[in-house]
């Protein structure tokens, strides 16, 4: 049997390209938000907040395109899995965009640069979030299952990093005579940590969707926690 690209597959290829555009747009927003916070760059932070509308527009565009393809072509198998996963990935990307805007918004609300030790704690978490996101996009782009499975297992590490960052932030402000929750910098730092942790979790979701696209196995809600091994997944598809 020879392979040929049908009209549906051509539409899916275009959709996939637009999805990667959305991945890149969100990735830039995340990078810029973290950089704006680290360098106290208000202009860059404001640009991230304003740029979120572009991400929202891409979400609407993707939604509409997927619904149209589902309605017109009634796809099956890998085409169906890709379209269903695309709808889910778009939601995760949009939320990562929102969380990036939240980080940027916190940067805008700070009245002064964060103290160095606080920024260092946040940077560790921010670097982890950026790395996980890049890994998730690349795993999706090339259908890399080992990396996608690694992402599926990353929640515990994300939580550990968030707790470590929060503890570091709170200890710093406590040690420097601030009453807990009274400092704007402390509150914004905590909000940033929460937002970064949510980005890590959304990146892990993209790993789950990649497994679903390639292997047809549902990794949501730890359905396959006990089966997070290549051996088990080898049986699928």
């Amino acid at each position: 049997m020879s392979e040929k690209e049908t009209q549906l597959q051509q539409c899916i290829s275009r959709l996939r390209t637009r999805l990667l555009v959305m991945c890149a747009t969100v990735g830039l927003a995340l990078d810029d938000a973290c950089a704006a916070l680290a360098t106290d760059n208000m202009g860059q932070a404001a640009a991230v907040v304003e740029g979120d509308t572009a991400v929202d527009a891409l979400e609407n565009e993707m939604d509409e395109a997927v619904l149209t393809l589902l309605a017109l072509y009634q796809p099956a198998a890998q085409d169906l899995r890709f379209l269903v996963a695309a709808l889910r990935i778009v939601i995760d990307l949009e939320r990562i965009g929102d969380e990036s805007a939240e980080v940027a918004d916190c940067a805008l609300k700070l009245q002064a640069p964060l103290p160095r030790p606080v920024q260092d704690h946040i940077t560790i978490l921010a670097d982890a979030a950026v790395a996980l996101y890049k890994k998730a996009v690349e795993a999706f782009r090339v259908g890399d299952i080992p990396t996608a499975l690694e992402l599926c297992r990353s929640d515990a590490e994300s939580t550990r990093l968030e707790v470590q960052a929060l503890r570091g932030v709170m200890e710093y402000f406590s040690d420097n005579g601030h009453k807990s929750g009274q400092s704007c910098a402390e509150i914004q730092s905590i909000l940033v940590c929460r937002a970064l942790n949510r980005i890590c979790r959304r990146a892990a979701n993209i790993g789950e969707h990649t497994v679903f696209i390639v292997k047809g196995v549902n990794m949501k809600h730890s359905v396959h926690t006990a089966a997070l091994s290549d051996d088990v997944l080898d049986g699928a598809l």
Binding site: L8, Q9, A76, L237
Partner: protein, 254 residues
Amino acid sequence: MPANVYRLYTRNVNFFYHQAQALYGVSLAFPENRVTALIGPSGCGKSTFLRCLNRMNDLIVGARAHGEIILDGENINDARTDVVSLRRRVGMVFQSPNLFPKSIFENVAYGLRVNGLKKRSALSDKVEEALRRVAVFEEVKDRLHSSALNLSGGQQQRICIARALAVDPEILLMDEPASALDPIATQKIEEGIHELKNRLTIIIVTHNMQQAARVSDRTAFFYMGKMVEEDATDIMFTRPKRKETEDYITGRFG
């Protein structure tokens, strides 16, 4: 589940039209009260296989089948099989409605008469029951004795199904039963299939992937005379195991 717990299953069925082999070692089991769809490109052998199940191919000169087709423990390819009785137990509906140029009543009563039922009231009861089972009775009850050929295509096909059902088959074979019908008539046939499977085992050949996905519980994919893959329909249409199946159901087949 091993094949021999099913009432109907095949084992290593090979089929030839003269020297040309059309089926290669097809083994497939049909769960009771379930719909099994046979899918595959034209010429893949699915209709040939379907017709093997009630020996309709016997009518073709030079056709011969080898292998076992077991119905209730007996090989229907055995020379001692009573073919008329077999076809009463394994009914068939074809692609196009093939009604006799008779009244609706006589069409549905035909098989009953062949099987020796003569009493008028019993015939009427059976005809009405069969027509109700395919949800066409209300549409035709006032013209049961007028020509069946005056009905719409969709109604004619449902009369054909009723005719097959009237003799109480245990298994119903359907060879693209809705391919010549409009979407509304197709929907009625599909709804009928959902109802009928409570009492029957149904095996349907269809070229319409969405129809196979909608009506069947299990799906078997045929290609070049071989049964390539068989599984629960939801699995076949979301995550088939074989690349050939994936290519066919996603239209990559070239």
